[in-house]
């Protein structure tokens, strides 16, 4: 129907590109910024999955998180604040053959782009959405964000924020047709990588909230969790992510959780301490908007002409013979 190109069906290990082939530019994030860990995980993913850089698109909005496409050697669309998701939806609708990632932040996705966030989950298009959640506006220099904990002192809340934080996981899990919800933290890179990998492999909108440190404006924010592994709840399941012995040995606070179990997912999501890490919900069968919309017919000049003529026929006054 629309411009469709057959995805490459064959892949041989020779096609593997080194990590450097997915890298470009020098990230301008602060030292210690969690965005660096996310970038590394994504670059590793591209390498390991052998993604063709020319067929991979990173779409972002505005904010620190949204600079990520500039550091990927792939196609990128650094859009406007809050609008990464609808831009990415348009890309995917017009080119289902492309692999599309969305990188966004807590201000970008959950505040100015909140409407798009909710609806993107409903559309369930095949997008891998990475929510860099540092609980603060960084690029605009420290304003309270929807996920800032109650009492957060910022330039717009000098006496501390007045409202409880939004929980993006519970909201996400409340949207019909949601198909993949996971939470990762930037300080456990191996698990972050595994989660991003699972998200990428899922066909549908994969929503990954990544708790991300902002040493500049939220120094020490996650220190209690970084220092105390027991305050991380690692979700474990045969259908979940692979855990190395090192990780499993360090993070012993674990819970068996079937990602198909929505009720349990919502219960897990509603607790923020310990921080649940892993795949909360996964429904591989949720319908995808781009598939529902594409009829499969290829448009040609001839089919357009025929369609147009048929439409015009219904409005035509023919001269009497």
């Amino acid at each position: 129907m629309t411009t469709q190109l057959p995805p490459c069906l064959l892949w041989s290990p020779d096609d593997r590109r080194p990590l450097e082939e997915y890298q470009t530019g020098v990230p301008r994030w602060c030292v210690g910024c969690g965005d660096n860990a996310i970038l590394t995980a994504v670059q590793r993913l591209c390498r390991d999955e052998g993604l063709a850089p020319e067929r991979t698109v990173f779409v972002s909005g505005i904010g620190c998180s949204s600079r990520l496409p500039h550091y990927m050697r792939a196609y990128g669309f650094h859009g406007t604040h809050g609008r990464a998701l609808p831009i990415a939806e348009g890309v995917k609708m017009s080119r289902p053959d492309l692999t599309v990632f969305v990188t966004t932040g807590d201000g970008d996705a959950l505040s100015i782009g909140a409407a798009h966030w909710i609806h993107a989950l409903r559309y369930n298009m095949d997008l891998t959405v990475l929510l860099h959640d540092n609980h603060i506006y960084g690029l605009t220099k420290k304003q309270v964000s929807p996920t800032s904990p109650l009492g957060t002192r910022s330039n717009t809340t000098p006496k501390g924020s007045l409202l409880p934080a939004l929980n993006p996981l519970t909201v996400t899990l409340g949207v019909p047709n949601v198909s993949f919800v996971a939470q990762a933290v930037d300080w456990i890179p191996e698990v972050l990588y595994q989660i991003v990998l699972a998200a990428y492999r899922h066909k549908g909108t994969s929503f990954v909230r990544i708790l991300q440190r902002c040493p500049e404006f939220m120094p020490g924010m996650f220190d209690p969790w970084v220092r105390d592994p027991s305050r991380t709840l690692l979700l474990r399941h045969e259908k979940g992510i692979a855990l190395s012995p090192q990780v499993a040995g360090t993070y012993r606070n674990q819970r068996e959780h079937d990602p198909r179990d929505m009720a349990a997912a919502r219960e897990i999501a509603s607790v923020d301490d310990p921080i649940p890490v892993g795949i909360l919900y996964h429904d591989p069968d949720a319908p995808r908007y781009e598939e529902l919309r594409h009829g499969g017919a290829i448009r040609t000049a001839e089919s357009i002409r025929r369609g147009l003529e048929a439409e015009l026929d219904t409005f035509t006054i023919w001269p009497d013979p």
């Binding site: 020319e54 500039h70 890309v91 017009s94």
Partner: protein, 626 residues
């Protein structure tokens, strides 16, 4: 039946030859006056008459029954020549109740000597208040010069259908066909077309109603009009503006339209959805206007040019996306079917208030192409032109239509499809080494855009100031380079535009300039002025940004210049208004600033499509001393 003539009316069954008539059919919402009017117009067009129809739409979906503001229906201008606008006052009206009729009378829609065919069933309504209202209004109407004919639609239809509310519109159609001498066979055929999706029994019943109306009028009405017919030699299509836009989108090869429901634009998307269901393509109803614009931009970025369709408030919301597409140089077609503004304004009424917003609405310097459709045919072809310009220049093309074209119908020559209308397939060839994504051409500002899938072309586009590599760049040189080249593209396009042709002589006392939907009405008004001996010409602009060359020369060949627009301009005689405080209408302001010519304006914001007589009368004082 009673035929009451308030003045002596020649009661002859012979047909009176007329050049044109404006006919209205009005009812409560849902009683089928619109269907009656559309069918009547279609039959007239097939008979070889020039037609133009205007929908009469109440603002509410179901306004209270029998309310003055609730008129729903159709205005049909019939003529023995092609017509380009809805004409002036109404010559004949069929009203399903006296309250909707009152609304039309009070709005000054009727000629003083108009013929009124009024449903008479209300006289015996069970509700005494309704019967009294009816009687009072009828008396009131009789005190004027109208010719009033009692029309027993309900009583007569009841012999055919159990619920006359669902059928008297076709009875009325039969009456109109008889009065205007339209072919009964064509009328029957039209009913088959109108009800084509229903079963034969429905078609048969409506044909019986049509025949009943015809027979009743033949028996009871002393009124016959005859219009000379044109010979139809080429196939024509009867389209409204929004349908023409949708068909134009199909014909342009665009495949994705993203929209959000808004009046009066939405019907274009409705129809396009229908078409795309059959032909392929996607109309995406986004969660909001911003998302619709962003979705279209994403689609355009990665593949063929996409379109987003909206009306005024939606244009405001899309401005950030429009700015992004301009900045990142992504093709995009934005259709704005204008309505009364600001804010929610008058959703169902036409206005041309969005011109400056379309040109300058985004923050910063965001040069984009703005063109306006001047008629139904233009609605179709402008989509093909807009798509081509958007893709060639990698920029945004805003196409302005308005509510007066959205639902107006007119026969136009049937378009003959050409493959050249279509967008090329997305380029997926490898990018040769050494090129940069924004290698602006120094003269034209044009770039060669690389899209996802092209090996070697990987880059990240951004709405942030960027250099030729598309890297974020805040240095003064990069910023200025981007601004300069994006602006140059408009100059490059300008060089390809033809100077619009004058309607009338090359010089004179008054030049009337318009843009958009008003072309037909303006030229008709100017024709009348010229026929009266005035040295008046008209110029109509399709491209407003960039404006074609040669306009300034034309302006200077006339003693006075005035724009005619459906937009606000301060009234020159208001106490506080003088040349220094006056806010001019949009086009007048643009022409004044660009050409340093003292351009005046005459504007109308009545919310009605512009009428030739109103323009004529408005222009007379602008002629100045001879």
């Amino acid at each position: 039946m009673t035929t009451v003539a308030c003045e002596a009316v020649p009661a002859a069954r012979s047909r009176r030859l007329i050049d044109e008539h404006v006919v209205e059919i009005v009812s409560d919402s849902g009683e089928g006056a619109q269907r009656c009017g559309q069918s009547f117009a279609a039959i007239a067009a097939r008979s070889g008459l020039g037609i133009w129809t205007v929908e009469i739409i109440p603002a509410e979906i179901q306004p209270p029954a029998r309310s003055v503001a609730g008129a729903s229906g159709n205005r049909v201008r019939l003529a023995s020549r092609p017509v380009t606008n809805g004409g002036d006052a109404v010559d004949l009206v069929v009203a399903f109740n006296e309250q909707v009729l009152r609304g039309r009378v009070e709005a000054g829609e009727l000629r003083p000597e108009a013929t009124i065919l009024l449903e008479s069933a209300w006289a015996n309504d069970r509700d005494p208040q309704i019967a009294r209202e009816y009687a009072e209004t009828r008396e009131e109407l009789l005190s004027h010069r109208y010719r009033l004919i009692d029309l027993p639609m309900e009583a007569e239809s009841r012999t055919i259908v159990s619920d006359p509310r669902r059928g008297k519109n076709m009875f009325a159609l039969g009456v109109l066909c008889l009065i205007y001498g339209l072919d009964r066979r064509l009328a029957r055929e039209q009913i088959a077309i109108t009800f084509g999706k229903k079963d034969q029994a429905v078609i048969d019943q409506n044909v019986r109603l049509l025949e009943a109306g015809w027979a009743w009028a033949e028996r009871e009405v002393d009124l016959r009009f005859e219009l000379e017919r044109m010979t139809v030699t080429e196939p024509q299509v009867v389209l409204n503006g929004n349908t023409a836009i949708a068909l134009g989108i199909l014909a342009s090869g665009m495949e994705i339209c993203a929209m959000y429901p808004i009046t009066p634009a939405t019907s274009a998307s409705h129809y396009l959805t229908d078409v795309f269901e059959r032909v392929g393509g996607i109309v995406h109803q986004a969660e909001d206007e911003i998302a619709a614009c962003a979705f279209a931009i994403g689609a355009s970025y990665a593949g063929k040019c996409a379109v987003t369709i909206t009306s005024g408030p939606g244009l405001s919301l899309k401005q950030e996306g429009i700015g992004l597409a301009v900045m990142a140089e992504i093709p995009l077609v934005v259709v704005d079917v204008q309505r009364g503004g600001p804010s929610t304004g008058q959703p169902t009424k036409p206005e041309q208030g969005d011109l400056l917003a379309a040109m300058f609405g985004s923050h910063g310097d965001a040069p984009k192409v703005v063109m306006a459709v001047s008629g139904i045919e233009d609605c179709f072809y402008s989509m093909i032109t807009a798509r081509k310009i958007a893709e060639t220049f990698n920029t945004v093309v805003v196409v302005l239509s308005d509510g007066s074209l959205a639902t107006a119908q007119q026969p136009i020559p049937r378009p003959a499809f050409s493959e050249e209308w279509l967008a090329s397939p997305a380029d997926q060839s490898p990018v040769p080494g050494g090129g940069r994504p924004y290698d602006w051409d120094a003269t034209t500002g044009l770039i060669r855009r690389w899209i996802p899938g092209q090996p070697g072309g990987m880059h990240t586009i951004t709405g942030i100031a960027h250099d030729r590599d598309s890297h974020v760049a805040y240095d003064a040189t990069s910023n200025e380079e981007g601004l300069r080249h994006r602006s140059l593209k408009l100059a490059a396009l300008q060089r390809t535009l033809r100077t619009p042709r004058l309607f009338g002589d090359d010089e004179g006392d008054l030049l009337v300039i318009g843009w958009g939907s008003t072309k037909g009405a303006i030229e008709e008004a100017v024709s009348r002025l010229r026929a009266e001996g005035h040295r008046v010409s008209a110029l109509h602009l399709t491209f407003i940004q960039p404006m074609p060359s040669g306009i300034g020369d034309i302006l200077r060949r006339f003693r006075r210049v005035v724009t005619v627009e459906m937009a606000w301009a301060d009234r020159a005689d208001d106490a506080l208004i003088d040349d220094e405080s006056r806010r001019w209408s949009p086009l007048a302001m643009l022409l004044r600033s660009r050409f340093l010519v003292d351009v005046d304006c005459w504007t109308d914001v009545s919310g009605r499509p512009l009428r030739p007589a109103a323009i004529h009368d408005g222009l007379l004082p602008k002629l100045g001393p001879a």
